[in-house]
């Protein structure tokens, strides 16, 4: 049982939520000579099409190919690996993010990752997959293929979360590793109302209170945060949020009211049963 719990914890590890990485253009050397680096192994790969394997190539300028230098030392993570490109005009610059992803996959292949992006992440195919409600599959695929701060990852994830929010399919991501990032995304964009409604309807008030707490952590100057209601008092806590910061007030209030009525009915029923039994 303990082993199963430990395994489940590993599988439920949340993918990191990061800002989108920015394109930078660091030029390392503008001249044509290549300095010796003694502490890393470099692989110089001339990947020009049409040259035979036995051709003798020199590393000086006046050639028509770009060289990509990838540090393949064992034990370095893909994010910290040194990858640089010598352009045809002799400039040695740091590799762009797309070049980095490609080289990392070529020299350090990961299971399930491809050099070329799967066509699933194109707009049309993504839309048809979302219509088929394959949210978890899309998110798992994009986690395996892309880094969490790449533009493709951000675009695909936001597309999935928006579709889930629009169609109220939050239950599909419950008990998966993507639930946390989805809640963070919705809280960041102040769209937790439909999520709250679905949680209240499933009678998960403590989870709903956690979502409101997350919202208040992100938006520290929201009005409900200043009320300072105890989060363990789930009902009051959620009500405080509804009154101050909620955008779809009516729906959440309705859901909460329905929940309260249901609880009352159940209590009444239990009381009746007890009196019938003479307790």
């Amino acid at each position: 049982m303990k082993e199963a719990t430990a395994k489940a914890k590993l599988l439920l590890q949340m993918p990191p939520v990061l800002k989108e990485r920015q394109h930078t253009n660091t030029v390392l050397e503008a001249n044509t000579s290549l300095h010796a680096h003694h502490d890393e192994k470099y692989v110089f790969t001339d990947i020009t099409f049409g040259i035979s394997d036995r051709a003798n190539t020199s590393l000086h300028a006046h050639h028509d190919e770009k060289y990509v230098f990838t540090d393949i030392t064992f034990g370095i993570s893909d994010r910290k690996r040194t990858i640089s490109v010598r352009d045809t005009d002799g400039t040695l610059r740091a590799a762009s993010w797309e070049e980095r992803d490609r080289m990392n996959q070529i020299y350090n292949p990961a299971p399930g990752r491809n050099v070329v992006l799967p066509k699933l992440f194109d707009e049309e195919n993504l839309k048809s997959a979302l219509v088929r409600k394959e949210y978890e599959f899309i998110l798992d695929s994009v986690c395996v293929q892309c880094e969490p701060d790449s533009s493709v990852y951000q675009r695909v994830c936001s597309g999935v979360y928006n579709a889930i929010d629009t169609h109220h399919h939050h239950h599909t991501l419950h008990s998966t590793r993507h639930y946390g990032p989805m809640c963070f995304y919705l809280a960041w964009h102040q769209r937790i109302d439909s999520l709250l409604v679905s949680l209240i309807q499933e009678e998960r008030l403590s989870d709903a209170a956690d979502i409101v707490f997350l919202y208040q952590l992100i938006h520290k100057d929201s009005k409900s945060a200043k009320l300072n209601i105890d989060p363990s008092q789930h009902m009051q806590f959620i009500k405080g949020y509804i009154e101050e910061d909620c955008l779809q007030r009516a729906q959440v209030q309705l859901a909460l009211q329905a929940y309260q009525d249901l609880q009352q009915q159940r209590q009444q029923h239990q009381h009746n049963v007890n009196t019938a039994h003479g307790l």
Partner: protein, 229 residues
């Protein structure tokens, strides 16, 4: 010598290709001449007939040269073996939903009811290379996909492709199990990979483990580590 005899009887046979085409009236006469007793005596004494063949392909060439009548190659194909017509995928997808498919296969995959012919108890480790050669069924017992011309293996034809994927572990079933020919099996592998690439077929994606220290180190001023240059 046989040619001289034929000429002496008054039959003309082309000199370029000394071939007899039994389908034309002149050739039929020539065949009768050859089969005639007077000729056969001499022929058998002489030995085998040289320069005269009744080979099918040669026959047709003579026919075209001689008179222009004669049969084209396409007319010789029995219609049930003709696979020259290319069926589009959309037709195949519609066929999978049709009554014709339902009555033929029911609810089972198309390969279940097929029986492969081989000698001995254990089947050969590879199925046949291909059932269709030059657009014609070249075997008497074609594989489950080739025997039905409306089963087109393509990435969009998910109904058909899913029948060749194991329901237990999501792997493509081996051709020894499904008994499809090697060519169709290769096309099936391509179709399955393409469908998975487009996201039309789902599969168990390998789990990716994140080392959080690569993404977040609170000691640094900015929350993320910079990729090394």
């Amino acid at each position: 010598m046989p040619l001289k005899m034929l000429r002496s009887v008054g039959q003309r046979v082309t000199r370029l290709l000394p071939v007899v085409c039994p389908t034309t009236h002149m050739a039929k006469a020539a065949v009768r001449v050859i089969e005639g007793r007077s000729v056969t005596k001499v022929l058998y004494g002489v030995g085998r007939i040289q320069g005269i063949t009744t080979c099918k392909t040669m026959r047709c060439e003579v026919a075209e040269e001689e008179e222009g009548e004669g049969e084209k190659k396409e007319d010789n194909i029995p219609p049930e073996k003709n696979r020259r017509q290319i069926i589009p995928v959309e037709t195949s997808i519609k066929y999978m939903q049709s009554d014709a498919y339902k009555t033929t296969y029911g609810d089972e995959p198309v390969w279940v009811k097929y029986r492969r012919n081989f000698k001995g108890g254990l089947p050969p480790t590879k199925t046949r290379k291909t059932c269709i050669r030059d657009g014609i069924l070249a075997t008497g017992n074609p594989c489950p996909v080739c025997r039905d011309e409306f089963l087109v293996v393509e990435y969009r034809n998910l109904e058909l492709i899913k029948q060749f994927i194991s329901p237990f572990n999501g792997a493509v079933l081996p051709p020894l199990k499904t008994n499809i020919c090697q060519k169709q099996h290769r096309r099936l592998l391509v179709a399955v990979n393409k469908a998975r690439d487009y996201g039309l077929l789902t599969y168990d994606v390998p789990h990716r483990h994140y080392d959080y220290s690569e993404y977040y180190q609170p000691q640094q001023q900015d929350g993320t580590t910079e990729a090394g240059r």
